[in-house]
C-alpha cells in the first residue's frame, strides 16, 4: 500500500508546476493555502472597517494584528488599491499579474502553463527515454494506451542497458535507476493513469525479482514480464473489448463517437469487418480535432463505414437518430467517473438526457483507485503548438486581459454512463470499484 501511494503521487500532481521531490510540493501548497487564508482574513478585516488598510500588505503574519490598530485616516486616499498591489506582489506565485489595475480570478492558476520541452537533460537519462519524452511533449505519442506501451518499451531498453553497480542487487538498485527516467517523462507531460499502473506493476516485479538470478537472466525475466503486461493488459484486453462491444452494434445502428479513441476505432472497424452494416457519426471539437483522424481510418479501408462528421455544438441536432454512443477513456476512477478527452462529458450528458445508451470502452489497466468528482481540479492544458487551427479566424493567442485556455480532459460523472466495456466484461459504472478486488489486486 505505501508503495502504491508513492507511485500515484506523480499522477495526482500534474497540475502542480514541476516534478519536484515528493515532500516539497505539498509543503509549498500548504504555505500557499496558509497565505491565501491570511489574505482572506485581511480582506475581511478590510471590509469590516475600510480604514485599516495601508499597513496591511507590509508584513506577512503581522498584517492582521497591525491592521486592526492602524489609524483610519490614511484609508481614504489610495489605501485599498495600494494594499492589493502589495499583497499580490507578496503572494506573487498565487496571482497571475495581468497588468496594473486588473486582477483575474485565481481559479485557473493550478492548471499551470505547459512547460518548455526538456531539451536539457538532467542526470543519467537513457536516450530512449529522452526521445520518448520529446514525443510526449510534442504529442507525437498521444493516448493512454500508446503512451503506456511506449513507456514500457523504452523501459525495456533501459533495463537491458542497465548494469547493477557492485555491492548492490538488481532488485534493490534498479528502481533507483528508473526513478529519474520516470521523472523525466513526467516532466515532459504529466503521467497518465495507465502509465502509473504499469510502472507500479514494474516496480513490484523488480522488487520481487530473484536475487539469485544472474543479472542478464533477471533482466530477461523483467523484459518478459513487461511484454506480458503489454500483451495481456492492453493488446489482448483490446481484443476482448472489441468482441464484447461489437456485440452491442447491430445491423442498421447509428453509432456516435467523440474525438478518437484507439479502442473505439478498433471496435468499429472490427464490427464492420464482421459484415455488420451500420453508420457512424463522429463528433469532434477543438483543441485537438482528433476526430478527423478517426474519420480517415474509418473511411479509408476497402469497405468504408458511412460516416457523418460534425462539431460538438451540432451534437443535439444529431442525437435523435443515434442508437448507441461509444466513447473511450483516459482513465476510470473507482466511483465510476470517466476521465476522458474534453467534450466527452458533454456528449454523454446529452445522450443520457435523450435516453441514448452511453458505452465506455476501457481496459482495466486504466482503472485508477482514486476518486475524482470534478474534472476541473485535475486537468492538463494543451500546449499551444498542439492546438489544431480551425475556422476562418486565426487561432487565438493569449494577450493581456484575454487568456486562452485549452483543457485537454474532462470528467464524465458516473450517472451519464450506461455501461463500461472492459476485458472482464460489461459492467455498470457503479461496479468499477469492485474490479481491482475481483482481479485479486495482484496485478493492479
Amino acid at each position: 500500500m505505501p508503495d502504491k501511494q508513492e507511485t500515484t503521487l506523480p499522477t495526482q500532481q500534474p497540475g502542480a508546476a514541476a516534478p519536484k521531490p515528493a515532500g516539497q510540493p505539498s509543503q509549498k501548497s500548504m504555505t500557499k493555502a496558509e497565505r491565501r487564508e491570511l489574505q482572506e482574513k485581511q480582506r475581511a478585516a478590510k471590509a469590516a472597517a475600510k480604514a485599516e488598510a495601508p499597513k496591511g500588505g507590509a508584513g506577512g503574519s503581522a498584517a492582521k494584528t497591525k491592521g486592526a490598530q492602524a489609524p483610519a485616516k490614511k484609508a481614504g486616499e489610495a489605501g485599498p488599491a495600494k494594499q492589493s498591489v502589495l499583497t499580490s506582489k507578496e503572494l506573487g506565485h498565487a496571482i497571475p499579474e495581468e497588468g496594473a489595475g486588473k486582477r483575474g480570478p485565481r481559479i485557473f492558476t493550478h492548471f499551470g502553463l505547459p512547460k518548455p520541452i526538456g531539451h536539457t537533460v538532467k542526470g543519467d537519462i537513457h536516450p530512449a527515454v529522452v526521445r520518448l519524452g520529446l514525443s510526449f511533449s510534442e504529442f507525437k505519442i498521444c493516448g493512454a494506451n500508446a503512451r503506456c506501451i511506449a513507456t514500457l518499451t523504452a523501459f525495456k531498453n533501459v533495463i537491458q542497458d542497465y548494469t547493477t553497480p557492485p555491492n548492490s542487487t538488481l532488485s534493490r538498485h534498479l528502481m533507483t535507476h528508473l526513478s529519474p527516467q520516470i521523472t523525466h517523462l513526467v516532466a515532459a507531460r504529466p503521467m497518465s493513469v495507465s502509465m502509473g499502473n504499469a510502472i507500479r506493476q514494474l516496480k513490484l516485479e523488480i522488487s520481487n525479482s530473484d536475487i539469485d538470478l544472474v543479472e542478464q537472466e533477471a533482466k530477461d525475466v523483467l523484459c518478459k514480464k513487461i511484454d506480458d503486461y503489454i500483451q495481456d493488459r492492453i493488446i489482448m484486453a483490446d481484443e476482448v473489448i472489441q468482441e464484447s462491444a461489437g456485440r452491442k452494434i447491430k445491423e442498421g445502428d447509428v453509432i456516435l463517437t467523440y474525438a478518437r479513441s484507439s479502442v473505439v476505432e478498433k471496435v468499429l472497424l472490427r464490427a464492420r469487418s464482421e459484415g455488420k452494416k451500420f453508420s457512424v457519426i463522429v463528433v469532434d471539437s477543438r483543441p485537438l480535432l482528433e476526430g478527423k483522424a478517426l474519420l480517415r481510418s474509418l473511411t479509408s479501408g476497402p469497405d468504408p463505414i458511412p460516416c457523418t462528421y460534425a462539431l460538438l455544438p451540432a451534437l443535439p441536432s444529431l442525437l435523435t437518430e443515434v442508437t448507441t454512443v461509444f466513447i473511450g477513456a483516459h482513465s476510470i476512477y473507482s466511483n465510476g467517473a470517466v476521465f476522458s478527452r474534453a467534450g466527452t462529458a458533454l456528449v454523454s450528458m446529452m445522450a443520457k438526457q435523450r435516453n441514448v445508451p452511453v458505452v465506455v470502452c476501457c481496459e482495466t489497466c486504466k482503472f485508477s483507485e482514486g476518486i475524482l468528482v470534478d474534472g476541473f481540479g485535475k486537468n492538463e492544458l494543451a500546449p499551444a503548438h498542439t492546438v489544431q487551427p480551425h475556422g476562418s479566424t486565426p487561432t487565438p493567442t493569449s494577450e493581456p486581459g484575454l487568456e486562452v485556455l485549452n483543457p485537454l480532459y474532462d470528467l464524465t460523472p458516473p450517472n451519464f454512463i450506461t455501461a463500461v466495456v472492459t476485458e472482464v466484461g460489461l459492467i455498470p459504472p457503479s461496479s468499477i470499484s469492485s474490479i481491482p478486488l475481483a482481479l485479486g489486486k495482484t496485478i493492479l
Binding site: 477543438r286 487565438p396 487568456e403
Partner: protein, 371 residues
C-alpha cells in the same frame, strides 16, 4: 390599390432579395430594415379605410417573410407595427368605448384575463368609432388616410425608437444580474450579450469565460471585444464547457428567436451549454430584445431550427478525399426548451419563460399571428 402597391413594390423587393441571399443577417438589422421599408410603404400608401391599410401592410409582411422564413424578426416587426397602428387608430378615432375605458383603468382578475385577448373588443369599438374620422368617404377617399398618416408615422417611429435603444435598455439593469467576482459563461457573439456584459463591467469586477462556438468561432471576436473593454476574459474551446461549468456562477446566452412557449432558438452550442448548466444547477439567463418574441411553437422539429450552414466551415476542401466520403452537418441554431432557461432579460423588464406567452399577447394581436 394595385397601382399603389406597384409604387412601393421596389423597396420591398430589394429587401426581400437581400433577405433571401442572406445579405442581411442578424435579427436586429433585419427588423430595422423591415421597419424602414414599412415606413416607406405606409407613407405612400393610399387607402380609404383601415382594413385596406392593414391588408397593405400584411401583404408586405407576407412577401418579406416568404423571402426568409427563418428570420423571424421580420414577421415580428410587421406584427408589432400592425399592433401599434391599431392602437393609434383607436385613439385617433376617439376611444370612447366603455370597455376600453374600464379595462385599462381598473385592475381585477377578470379584467386581467380579458386583457389577454384585447382584440375581442375591437368590432364593438369599431361600430361607434366612425364619427370622428370618416372611413370610406365617397367624396374624398383620401381624407381618411390623410388624417391617419401622422399618427401612423408616429406609431412606426415608436417601434423604430424601441429597436434603436434595445441594447441599452436590455443592459440598463446589468449590474443587478452580475455580482462582484462572478464567473460568467457565454458563447458565440451576441450584440445584446456583449453590450450587457460591457455595461455590467462599468460597476462590477467579474470574469467572463467565452466558448469559441464552432464552426463560426464567433466567440473569439467576442472575447477580444470583451477583454478590450477591460473585462478579464478567458477563451476556451466548446469541449471544455462541462469541466468549467462547476466554477461558473451564471450562463448568459443570446437568442435568435424567443418562442411562444418560452423556449428559444439560439446559436448552436447553446443547448449543450444550457444542459451542462442544468446538470450543475447553474442559472441560465438569456438577454434579448422583445422584437425577438415570436408567436411560434417549435412544432415541426424538436431539435434545431432546421436551418443549416455551410458544411465547408466544418470540414473544408483542404481535407482532400475525406470530403467525398463523409456527410457533414452544420446547423445554425439549437432549440433550447423553456425548462433550461431561468430568465429572459429584455428591454422591457425581466421575465421568466413561463410568462412569455403573456408578453406575446400584449405585444401582438392574435389575428396577426398568421400574416
Amino acid at each position: 390599390m394595385q397601382a399603389e402597391r406597384g409604387q412601393h413594390h421596389r423597396s420591398v423587393e430589394v429587401l426581400a432579395s437581400k433577405l433571401r441571399r442572406r445579405q442581411i443577417v442578424g435579427s436586429r438589422t433585419a427588423a430595422l430594415e423591415t421597419l424602414v421599408v414599412l415606413r416607406q410603404v405606409v407613407s405612400r400608401a393610399r387607402f380609404s379605410n383601415f382594413e385596406q391599410l392593414v391588408e397593405i401592410i400584411r401583404g408586405v409582411g407576407r412577401r418579406l417573410v416568404e423571402a426568409q422564413p427563418k428570420e423571424h424578426s421580420v414577421g415580428n416587426t410587421v406584427r408589432k407595427v400592425l399592433h401599434h397602428i391599431r392602437e393609434e387608430y383607436q385613439t385617433a378615432v376617439g376611444q370612447t368605448g366603455p370597455q376600453a375605458g374600464t379595462s385599462t383603468s381598473g385592475f381585477s382578475i377578470s379584467k386581467f384575463v380579458l386583457q389577454g385577448q384585447p382584440r375581442r373588443h375591437v368590432p364593438a369599438q369599431k361600430t361607434e368609432v366612425k364619427t370622428t374620422l370618416k372611413e370610406d368617404d365617397p367624396e374624398d377617399p383620401d381624407s381618411f388616410s390623410k388624417g391617419l398618416k401622422p399618427v401612423l408615422m408616429e406609431a412606426i417611429q415608436d417601434v423604430l425608437d424601441e429597436l434603436e435603444t434595445v441594447y441599452d435598455n436590455v443592459s440598463k439593469n446589468a449590474r443587478d444580474h452580475i455580482h462582484p467576482d462572478e464567473i460568467i459563461l457565454t458563447l458565440g457573439r451576441s450584440k445584446t450579450v456583449e453590450t450587457f456584459l460591457k455595461t455590467a463591467a462599468h460597476n462590477r469586477h467579474y470574469t467572463v469565460i467565452v466558448a469559441e462556438t464552432g464552426p463560426s468561432y464567433d466567440g473569439r471576436e467576442m472575447a477580444k471585444s470583451l477583454s478590450s473593454a477591460g473585462i478579464s476574459t478567458f477563451l476556451v474551446p466548446d469541449s471544455s464547457i462541462f469541466s468549467l461549468m462547476s466554477r461558473v456562477n451564471k450562463v448568459i446566452l443570446g437568442a435568435h428567436v424567443i418562442l411562444a412557449n418560452g423556449g428559444m432558438f439560439a446559436i448552436t452550442g447553446s443547448l449543450i451549454a444550457a444542459t451542462a448548466a442544468k446538470a450543475h444547477s447553474t442559472p441560465v439567463v438569456v438577454c434579448a430584445g422583445q422584437f425577438k418574441l415570436t408567436p411560434l411553437w417549435n412544432l415541426y422539429h424538436e431539435y434545431g431550427a432546421v436551418d443549416f450552414g455551410n458544411p465547408s466551415d466544418v470540414l473544408g476542401f483542404n481535407e482532400g478525399e475525406l470530403v467525398n466520403k463523409v456527410d457533414v452537418v452544420n446547423p445554425y441554431y439549437d432549440y433550447v426548451a423553456p425548462e433550461f432557461i431561468d430568465a429572459y432579460i429584455t428591454n422591457d423588464g425581466d421575465h421568466p419563460p413561463s410568462s412569455i406567452y403573456r408578453l406575446l399577447k400584449e405585444t401582438y394581436d392574435d389575428e396577426d399571428n398568421e400574416l
